[in-house]
Symmetry: C2
């Protein structure tokens, strides 16, 4: 049995970015997540593809040790998405075309083994499907994590709220959090969402990093400052793959474990955007990932105040100012 079960999309993406373009590249939320998490723990994918899905892509997933027994091949074409990214804000992408194809009738059905999953990632799909999958699991999984998007926040709000109630970790963009919570302030918004059920909210802020709210603990995980961003597609799912991969591999659900998980998520997300599709992430070595983890540690470290140590205060007396 795999440690993590992911339910989501497998797609062919055609993207135009400031760095170039790529036609019909392997993508999809389940794909990026599974390849990212597969470095750390066994992953099982539940998704649907069409008759046109290429054998080399099945082999790639299997070659990464991903369990693809739940990847259903169905009459019709694989889900296709195409879009254009702007130069400054990777989140400001414009969709040119979406062809759901076989994904339109996606009705995930878990195998007996999959029903015993301990870690579940409900990637960004219809919240009714997310709810249905969650309730196919026999026992309560150790962790249920969920990703969503504005389309569901606006279009299926009550369905989304129903499944969020049973979620442990919510991954969400800052703009989406503001929408979901009807609250501009991210701290207040995260607290509101946590009051609905989740133990943790991971607020994604693109190339500025993430804010992790976990119980009473707040953590800011830095993004790695990249010199070359090729294609932002899949960054969020790769982040989630590193995050949950670390938690499942270590079983460490303490605040310290969650913090490291967020940093590893940031590491995997940074690799994802350095190439089109999975070119960079699929070719990573252990040394690459650990080196970037160490870089991120260095990038965000500074000398804290020791016990009893003071900041260099000026000696002269100062009057407090009141208006």
């Amino acid at each position: 049995m795999s440690e993590i079960l992911v339910v989501g999309s497998v797609a062919y993406d055609s993207v135009v970015t400031p760095a170039g373009s790529r036609e019909e590249a392997l993508g999809g939320s389940a794909t990026f997540f599974a390849v990212s998490a597969s470095f750390f723990t066994p992953v099982s994918v539940v998704a649907v593809v069409g008759e046109d899905f290429r054998g080399e892509h099945l082999e790639m997933l299997a070659g990464r040790g991903v369990d693809i027994s739940g990847l259903k091949r169905q009459e019709g074409k694989t889900f296709r998405w195409s879009g254009v990214y702007g130069t400054e804000d990777a989140n400001a992408r414009r969709t040119l075309d979406t062809q759901l194809n076989v994904f339109a009738d996606f009705a995930p059905e878990l195998s007996p083994a999959q029903r015993r999953a301990r870690y579940l990632f409900l990637a960004n799909i219809d919240p009714d499907l997310q709810f249905d999958v969650l309730h196919q699991i026999e026992d309560r999984p150790r962790l249920v994590a969920l990703d969503t998007m504005n389309f569901w926040i606006q279009g299926k709000n009550s369905s989304l709220r129903r499944v969020v109630t049973e979620t442990d970790i919510l991954f969400i963009d800052e703009g989406e959090l503001r929408d979901l919570a009807s609250e501009v302030n991210l701290v207040k918004g995260a607290r509101q969402v946590m009051a609905m059920g989740p133990k943790a909210v991971v607020v994604k802020q693109g190339d500025h990093g993430v804010l992790l709210f976990h119980g009473e603990s707040t953590f800011r995980a830095p993004a790695f400052p990249l010199e070359n961003v090729t294609d932002p597609t899949g960054a969020g799912d790769s982040f989630a793959g590193g995050f949950l991969g670390y938690l499942a591999a270590t079983g460490d659900l303490t605040p310290g474990g969650f913090r490291r998980a967020a940093v590893l998520g940031s590491v995997m997300g940074s690799f994802a955007v350095e190439s089109f599709s999975l070119d960079r992430m699929g070719a990573l070595t252990l040394a690459d990932v650990e080196a970037r983890f160490r870089s991120l540690s260095d990038l965000s470290s500074f000398s804290p105040l020791g016990d009893g140590e003071n900041l260099p205060w000026r000696d002269s007396p100062r009057k407090p100012y009141t208006t």
Copy 2:
């Protein structure tokens, strides 16, 4: 002699923010900078005000121990600015009105004591004035720091480049850096600017924190996640005040010193935006500042990989993926 000399504006601001509004509140780049830095080191202000400048505001600055002998009182009215802030992006402010008044003819002239300043902050004013002030200093100061804005990047580009060449630390918003360097990527843009002269570039990313490029070192200083943002005016200058105040007070210009300076800048910027004008910052105690510095340490800390420690790699062999 004061440790830091700041040349900039002293103003009355009228602002509307999502949290409320305030008319004719004390503001200006030199004001926020001086009050922030005054916690750590003596500061001397060079600026101009009109006949309407209120005695209570002179007393406030003097009461904070700020040397206001260079605050020239001139016939006419004090500089006035009014603007409106949007709900999500504090940098997306809209100026309603600017009345330069006495600031229109601002021609700073340093006193003999000021000409011996060791730390110089050239706040956001005309780059020709910044250049002129810099060349009034007798010896090369230990540190010259400069802030600017799009107005000068677009309108006085060659003047700005001339003074940036002689600057040690440039404070700049990420959008402004992209403009100045004609480069979308912040890492590349910062390197280009450093090739012009500055040893350090501090890229301000609003409520997401700052990226500090300092020699070969890159550091991401977290912003403090605030529950209540009242008025973003003055955040950048308060950041610079904490940053340079720390460096001048300690004399520590090592990479470690710069990192702590950036965190203290973030601390002071976070206080500045919690109230209109200087209400919050002026009333701070030592305990407030140190407590927030410790909070920021906690907020960004995670357990790094120890020497020889590995991430939890999956045992099974995996095939690298190539397209």
